[in-house]
Symmetry: C2
């Protein structure tokens, strides 16, 4: 369950590590979980379970869920409170009638969809519908008397505000808060039946649930025939599955044909004596078949499965999405299209015909696994056995139909081929042009005395990206956080209530990266303006036809304080240390995460998020299996061709946020020696945008760090300046901002205002 | 199984990590395993399975195993070959007759004893007896036709030499070598029974074996009633259990009474609703009851168990070892002594009386676990069930009698109290006096033109330790490796065949630490002499009444080459980086291991062993649960009061070995800020012996590194010089060798011989 991010993460992640299946672990983004529970405890309220206030402000949502959460936020509160009750009334009726009238005493509603997506389509947002809680991580549990929502420390305030009366917030990650499975086992009477939709839980999650409930004499009941019980309550208001047409990802940028990719999968099948492999996560399918879609904002994927056997390759999706061009592309690749809903029946047919189906237990839904197992048991081959009762997953020998296999597609997708790398380089050049254009404009605007809102900052930046060739959409919602808003890691400015940027602002510009910053991450923080007093963080990224970008810059438009500059310099030193790292094959990202934190740690500073996530090539901005973070259980080795973000930060609540983020590609290092014949690796920066030197306390930098910075800026100038020939102002800005550090500081000193400004 | 070090380590260690039980993982020392298999593959022969030659040199062992392996080595070879056969003949007869005549098709003989000791007493060295292989890591499997030994790359050469005719060496860690469980499952016919002594396998290991064998229709058979089948073959020649008397560990150095320690365990029992805790590893028992023994060389422990209930505390050991003083000490602490052999019966009695017994599944033998489970099932409480068939361990809910609990004693023992720390500081001061005295003597001796053997180096060093107050014995066999022998990580010089040390030697002085360098690690490398051309590595340590030491210094007595100095400087830079680390609570040792390697990695260099192990206070020189290493699955957080070694190195086969090792204690760091209220930690050096500056390429050091070195030497001078008042030569040596780096280099430059020497 996704909710494991904050409260059950250790055990789940460790299981994944144990089974040698890191493919999905990186998605357990939980910043708190990755950071030791003590921190979480210290920063969160001491009481885990807190009845939310039933003030009118807690019901600020429309009863009718529409496709736009944001639109819903402005609607009538009282109606929502009543409707929230009605939702629960209907769900409880469905619970009582479930499983042929046997009923269930509790029903679990996780965030996950059947593809364990980080960002599910609205169609699958059952937890959000039933609880009104829009955060990206959380699990609801409904019993006859209670309605509870588990989430983690990032969302306590938001959940308190959004949950209706009658809901209880379970403050996951705080010491006193039980994990969901423990709560169920300990709170419900012996003999109770706990229902869940087997499409929305992985095999691993269900095995854990079963084991825990069995221990206390309770029963876990996968409700397959009933469908999802929330859908019964949701009724006609539930959004349909998206129907946007697919598009072909050009061979120029894909770099490998469907046939080549499918053949690679087939080779893996031989190794594990399986007849076929089922890919269940959406970016796997998109990558495998060189297709892109738009079923989810920012993620160019589409609702689908892929089943590759030794002879066939099938795409399960809505056939209406298949344009003639896509049909031709698939035909050429030897891929057959079958309806999305056909998948389970086909899996059953294969299993009962004795096929051995490889799946990744950390990603595949229990429903699909169960279908295969039951069909195999009932089929001509196996003796009759009740697969639903199997506690031991396939890997431990409990199954003949299902082969547990770490997805070979996830691994292949992570290691970019030459064309993918070239596409990523192209995308970053185009992105650099847009961002330099934007930053030059922003600086000039604020210098002219203007005050901007955070939303205007976002619009101006995105507008310049749109001018670039091949731009499709942002790769995630821009985070433009002024001063204190920069400290809210999953902040998103919204129309009508955002900070303005001016010359007193420290601006952090980024786009959330692994911080679960999807459309649904709405905070209640008052938005600020940006001016000459602002420290502004901007985290943003673009989806281009050829690649995906993700960059954060933090800048001040007036005179940052000494403390801000010290903190910024520590962040930058971490950024540089990671960028300069050299490491041998076999090294996981967790082993080099420390390099990015050490300069902060020496001052007693830190940040509560990972340092680097994988990035897809013209695909999801967050992908696995690698992770540079303190999620120490992720031991996937870094490999040549992988792309990672490098984004250390530092945040002071209510004060400011700092983050410096580039994307890096891993290449072979040119070391003097090669001990034991090992391949040594190093990083190459893909991102090519200046780092604001005004924020640097130069006296804290070592000679080597200054050399890195000057070298980086030289590279930025060489690569980006040829593309700015038609923009003399931007070119001059780039020239100034890529000069050696000492030159920039001397120029700033000469142009500096009265010393009194430095104390701002 | 201990043999998992090299070939099964990932899966076992990951299981441990999953169950949140890191207590025992640190012991999986395997340097190769910790390093990515590719290295191991590249350095090892490409073929896993290699029939050893049956030349006469392969049987250089006495047929009669005596207490002294070394004595045995000189004996008649031909007799041994014949006896080896006889041993197998007898074992196979026992296998055929086992389990009431049902017999077993294969029998597994691991290195482990019933206490999962790193160094078992001779009484328990069954694997060594049956295979003649004396390495510290390996598992034998005997079938009707075959006799196989799995070991890892450190021991391939040694195993080839030692294994008799008819034995097959399984080169663990090489790509083509199956893990033992897989080999059994794949090689034996369906229905085969695989026997093992349940006292010598952990519960976790047996569960894995059962699961794998079941998958292929084979059966794992714990042979309890038969006793260990190797013992039947061994017969009267088998050494008895050691009978050396116990001694009281003085309260002055223990710092906590038995009562206090036992009470701490009892508090943990309440938390897991258990009635008692069973401690099964020998250093746990010694620490808990403030006792020491001498059943195993170098490790001051004794064969025993401890069982702590809410009302009682029992020591299971040979009552003959209990002197009157020890008896009084135990009585005062409320501890009852019962015979060692009584443990299983007592566990059964408790289990059948419905007691819930807490044990650490990663340490406890399957025999003890099984005894509890069967008694509980047969007793008045439980329904009848066959515990031997339980694949799921207690933690997963399969048991009512046994509670799986990470040993609270291991955790408490790792975090030293004030008295233990004071004892460790005292021990290191005494050790510093001995080592400075020795190094001054050694330098002078070689400068006078003398040539020494490596054994003489060891004897002189140990002789000086013996002069120190409270010295008991070395904490491990000294590694004094000249030139190429310094590159053999588990090297031990033996009488009659060792390198001499002279002014051309780079000498590495250390004592093996986590490198499995026990008495049995005998290599066939010709031993060398030490002179002015020697680079000498000396790794050594002492057991004192108050504490335990472990130090490595590497030095040259003439003019080291540029390459040697560069490599040494990289090692020292790693050593300094780790020593200077600052990190927040929750950080595991694996996260800072990188700091020690990065200076080497940048040059494409590395070392195939861990960087730091825990050290007991007047106890075993290797202890858990923490580990600073590339064993990334060990995520035990470092904590204030833990002691770790800091020992990066670099080794060139046949050339030279470099290692610089200090012991460190973790203390609270005095950082400028404390983000999130977290405790930040830093290291303090316990070891106080100069680092040879002749080996340093000063131009490679940063200002910060030079500052560390000068500060360290200043500290050494301040602490150690007052103790050398009666040794003016040594005091003068210390003065010279603790002067600031620039002064030392200037002095060396002034005294330097003709430049031509530098090319040596």
């Amino acid at each position: 369950m996704r909710s494991s991010v904050a409260f059950g993460v250790s055990s789940r992640a460790r299981t994944l590590a144990q089974t040698g299946r890191p493919a999905a672990v990186w998605r357990l983004a939980g910043s708190l979980a990755s950071f030791g529970l003590k921190d979480a405890r210290q920063t969160a309220s001491s009481s885990c379970q807190e009845q939310t206030r039933s003030s009118s402000s807690t019901a600020s949502h429309s009863a009718r869920r529409t496709l736009s959460i944001r639109a819903a936020m402005a609607s009538n509160g009282a109606a929502a409170a009543a409707a929230a009750d009605l939702r629960l009334v209907k769900l409880r009726a469905a619970m009582a009638a479930a499983d042929g009238g046997q009923g269930v005493a509790a029903y679990i509603v996780p965030t996950e969809d059947p593809h364990m997506s980080e960002y599910p389509p609205d169609h699958f947002k059952r937890r959000e519908y039933i609880s009104s809680f829009t955060g990206s991580a959380g699990t609801a549990v409904i019993t006859a008397e209670q309605a509870l929502l588990w989430t983690d420390g990032r969302y306590f305030l938001q959940a308190e505000t959004e949950l209706g009366p009658g809901w209880t917030l379970m403050r996951g990650g705080t010491g006193s808060c039980p994990e969901i499975n423990d709560w169920l086992a300990d709170s419900l009477p012996e003999g109770s039946r706990v229902g869940f939709d087997p499409f929305c839980h992985t095999v691993e999650a269900v095995n854990k649930l079963k084991s825990k409930l069995q221990e206390k004499g309770l029963e876990a009941v996968p409700l397959l025939a009933d469908g999802n019980l929330v859908d019964q309550a949701w009724g006609a208001d539930r959004p349909g599955l998206p129907t946007a047409p697919l598009r072909v990802h050009a061979a120029e940028w894909a770099g490998a044909s469907i046939q080549q990719k499918v053949d690679e999968v087939r080779q893996k099948l031989a190794g594990v004596k399986a007849d076929c492999f089922l890919a269940t996560t959406l970016d796997e399918v998109a990558w495998l078949y060189n297709l892109r879609g738009s079923d989810v904002p920012y993620n160019p994927v589409f609702v689908s499965y892929a089943l590759v056997s030794l002879t066939d390759a099938v795409l399960y999706t809505n056939p209406e999405k298949v344009t003639p061009a896509v049909a031709e592309h698939l035909k050429a690749g030897g891929v057959v299209v079958r309806p999305y809903e056909q998948l389970v029946a086909d899996v059953k047919a294969k299993a009962s015909a004795k096929a051995r189906i490889a799946m990744d237990m950390s990603n595949v839904s229990y429903a699909v696994f169960q279908a295969a197992e039951e069909a195999a048991a009932a089929g001509p081959r196996g003796r009759k056995r009740n697969a639903a009762d199997a506690v031991v997953p396939a890997a431990a020998g409990g199954s003949k139909a299902v082969v547990d296999l770490v997805s070979p597609i996830v691994a292949a997708k992570a290691i970019k081929n030459g064309a993918e790398l070239e596409g990523m380089r192209q995308a970053h050049l185009r992105d650099a042009v847009a961002i330099c254009d934007f930053l030059q404009w922003l600086e000039a605007k604020i210098a002219s005395g203007a005050t901007l809102t955070e939303v205007e900052v976002d619009l101006e930046l995105t507008g310049r990206r749109k001018q670039q060739q091949g731009f499709i959409e942002p790769s995630f919602p821009t985070i433009a956080g002024a001063n204190g808003n920069g400290a809210i890691i999953h902040y998103r400015a919204q129309e009508g209530s955002c900070k303005t940027v001016d010359a007193k602002t420290l601006l952090l510009i980024d786009s959330g990266s692994q911080y679960d910053c999807g459309t649904t991450d709405i905070t209640r923080t008052p938005h600020l303006t940006v001016d000459a007093k602002t420290l502004l963080l901007i985290d943003s990224g673009g989806q281009y036809d050829c690649g995906t970008t993700d960059i954060t810059r933090t800048m001040h438009f007036g005179s940052p304080s000494e403390h801000q500059r010290r903190c910024y310099t520590r962040v930058l030193q971490g950024h540089i240390a990671l960028s300069q790292a050299v490491f041998p094959e076999g090294t996981p990202g967790t082993a080099i995460d420390t390099l990015a934190r050490l300069p902060l740690w020496r001052d007693g500073l830190n940040y509560r998020h990972g340092t680097g996530h994988g990035v897809g090539a013209a695909l999801n901005v967050h992908e696995g299996p690698q992770s540079i973070s303190t999620r120490y259980w992720i031991t996937t080795p870094l490999q040549v061709g992988m792309i990672c973000s490098n984004e250390p930060g530092y945040y002071e609540d209510g004060g400011f946020g700092i983050r410096v983020e580039n994307l890096l590609v891993i290449k072979e290092a040119d070391t003097e020696f090669r001990f034991g014949g090992a391949t040594f690796m190093a990083f190459e920066d893909l991102t090519l945008v200046p780092i604001q030197t005004k924020m640097i306390s130069a006296e804290l930098l070592t000679a080597s760090e200054e050399q890195w910075l000057d070298g980086y800026h030289k590279l930025v100038w060489e690569r980006v300046s040829p593309l700015l020939a038609d923009k003399p102002d931007v070119l001059a800005w780039l020239k100034r901002n890529t000069a050696p550090l000492k030159e920039q500081l001397a120029a700033a000193g000469a142009a500096a205002p009265a010393p009194a400004m430095a104390a701002v």
